[in-house]
């Protein structure tokens, strides 16, 4: 790839007591790439995302984003640089209606920076974004309290909250888990559209079929270490990956 790397993770490690959740991991991510991150449960995928987004601090190693060393930065500062993520366990504001959930990311300094301080009407922006991820405009679903929404909509809301921040790097942590095939089919085009807009995306996913179709590159983790890194087709053929992950199915 000729384009300069957006994210550089070098030799990063995180130990929880004796557990080496992530153990000396390095990779680079080019602008506009869609990276799939797979691995068995407990292989350190979510820990890696938490390290990149600053939710936890690494034991050793360095993370560079847009040629800036962001190792150990608080998460809100990393978000302001344009890294947005969704959580595997959705974290909506359960007491607020769906569209009010969107106001909080729209209030972010990141959005202020991206829009040049000209906010417009946040309520209208919230409804537009929700429509983009599939909250039907004509229905009342966007006005429902989040605690009353089904899982499919909560996942969409989680995605909309991340998109609202106008990120350069979007990290989707198991967005499809717990969704029906039809719901996944509804969300896939949104991700493909984001990719066409030039966003760099990291996807953690257990639904390999969908992931392998859209990903440019796959990294396979096992016990906190990288066991494969390459094009989806090549990774599929890798013996070690088959043993650790695919073969076990």
């Amino acid at each position: 790839m000729n384009s300069p790397s957006l994210l550089m993770v070098s030799n990063i490690a995180k130990h929880f007591g004796g557990v080496r959740a992530v153990n000396g991991l390095s990779f680079e991510l080019a602008k506009g790439e869609l990276l799939g991150l797979i691995g068995p449960n407990g292989s350190g995928k979510t820990t890696l995302v938490n390290l990149i987004t600053g939710f936890i601090k690494p034991t050793t190693g360095k993370i560079t984003y847009k040629s800036r060393d962001i190792t150990g930065w608080p998460s809100y500062k990393i978000v302001r640089l344009g890294v947005a993520r969704t959580f595997q366990m959705v974290k909506p504001f359960y007491q607020l209606p769906a569209y009010k959930n969107m106001i909080i990311p729209l209030y972010s300094p990141r959005v202020k920076k991206m829009t040049g301080g000209k906010y417009g009407d946040r309520d209208a922006m919230a409804l537009d974004l929700l429509e983009e991820v599939g909250f039907e405009r004509d229905s009342f679903v966007a006005y429902k309290v989040a605690s009353a929404l089904p899982q499919g909509y909560l996942k969409r809301l989680e995605l909309a909250k991340a998109i609202a921040l106008q990120p350069d790097l979007l990290i989707l942590d198991e967005l499809f888990s717990g969704l029906s095939l039809a719901e996944v089919a509804g969300i896939l085009p949104i991700i493909e559209k984001l990719r066409h807009e030039g966003k760099t995306i990291i996807m953690i996913e257990h639904r390999l079929k969908e992931l392998f179709r859209i990903a440019d590159r796959i990294i396979v983790l096992n016990y906190g270490e990288k066991i494969a890194d390459g094009k989806p087709a090549d990774v599929m053929e890798n013996e070690e990956v088959k043993n650790a992950y695919l073969g076990s199915e």
């Binding site: 998460s75 302001r80 504001f93 007491q95 009010k100």
Partner: protein
């Protein structure tokens, strides 16, 4: 045959939620009545009450302010067990400025309000990272610590306190100052919490990680909420110092921490109006029960328990629902 209770918004509520509100006097009254009630009610009360009950009204308003200040912290995810910290801070600051430097109340009260809020915020700044009961414990301990510091070092009059402070000019000034501040806090805070800023505070209460994930520094927002709530608490302390013409160790007493919470719980958390309503029930109740002597606290406690068991949502939420919705039983199946 099974029956289910159905709640439906009143037609007038639906119509007046939009611009069509101005169609009739009835709709305008429907919208303005809940807002006018506390204003007109307080003005009428101030004229009709005897001097003794006017003093009670002062005390009610002070506790209502403390309850409102507790409520804004609770809505931002900070459960304070130490409203006495804010109250005592404001009380001592205005007392000190008045006694040692001879500043008049109309200078000491505003300065003590701001400074009290600021110092309390700075004191709690290191523990803003704590959540839930851990934060609460620190707020509970701080006023108890401060009172021991005053006792041990004998500063600011020690156990004797400072007396002979300048009173406010007349009892009408006293009464209307607190009423105006109370109404301003009530309507101002309701407006604040409905703004996008307030939404961020509510978001912190709901899920602080998710707010952080939006690139928002939650500690900065918590600190602002703490300053706003703390200033209101400090105002009530500074005000009472000049009403009693005295400031001493009792300003850090547990009453100022617990009673506001009781008021907010009885009245209904999260509306400010509920906190105010709670104070307007609990404080006069305590006065009425005074005749019972030793059993007073028993009846008072019993009353509290009954309220919480019968109306756990709080009185205000109950009234609000009755005002906006009608109920009917419908057959199921």
């Amino acid at each position: 045959m099974k029956k289910r209770k159905e709640r439906i918004d009143r037609g007038i509520k639906v119509r007046s939620s939009d611009v069509f509100a101005l169609l009739s006097w009835r709709e305008m009254l429907y919208l303005s009545f809940p807002r006018l009630l506390p204003i007109v009610g307080l003005v009428v009360l101030s004229f009709t009450l005897s001097i003794y009950w006017q003093k009670v009204l002062l005390s009610v308003s002070v506790f209502a302010l403390l309850a409102i200040s507790w409520d804004i912290l609770a809505q931002s995810g900070m459960i304070s067990l130490g409203q006495a910290l804010f109250f005592g801070m404001g009380a001592y600051l205005s007392g000190i400025m008045n006694y040692y430097w001879g500043w008049p109340p109309f200078l000491t009260i505003p300065i003590a309000t701001i400074m009290g809020g600021l110092i309390s915020t700075l004191l709690l700044l290191p523990v803003l990272r704590l959540r839930g009961i851990y934060f609460s414990m620190v707020t509970l301990i701080l006023p108890l610590m401060l009172v021991r510091i005053v006792e041990a070092t004998r500063i600011f009059g020690g156990t004797e306190g400072i007396s002979g402070l300048t009173p406010l000019p007349t009892r009408w000034v006293e009464l209307y100052l607190i009423i105006i501040v109370l109404l301003a806090a009530l309507f101002g805070f309701r407006r604040l919490m409905n703004s996008d800023f307030g939404l961020v505070l509510k978001g912190i209460n709901d899920n602080d990680q998710s707010v952080m994930n939006a690139g928002i520094n939650i500690y900065w927002f918590k600190a602002q909420a703490l300053f706003i709530g703390g200033s209101v608490g400090a105002f009530s302390g500074a005000f009472m110092t000049h009403v009693y013409m005295f400031v001493g160790m009792p300003v850090f007493a547990l009453d100022y921490s617990i009673l506001p919470i009781a008021a907010a719980v009885v009245g209904g958390i999260g509306t400010f109006a509920g906190s105010m309503l709670g104070a307007f029930i609990l404080v006069p109740l305590s006065e009425i029960l005074r005749g019972l002597g030793g059993l007073r606290i028993v009846f008072y406690g019993l009353f509290l328990v009954i309220f919480i068991v019968v109306l756990p949502e709080g009185i205000f939420h109950y009234i609000q629902r009755k005002y906006h919705q009608f109920e009917r039983w419908v057959e199921v199946e």
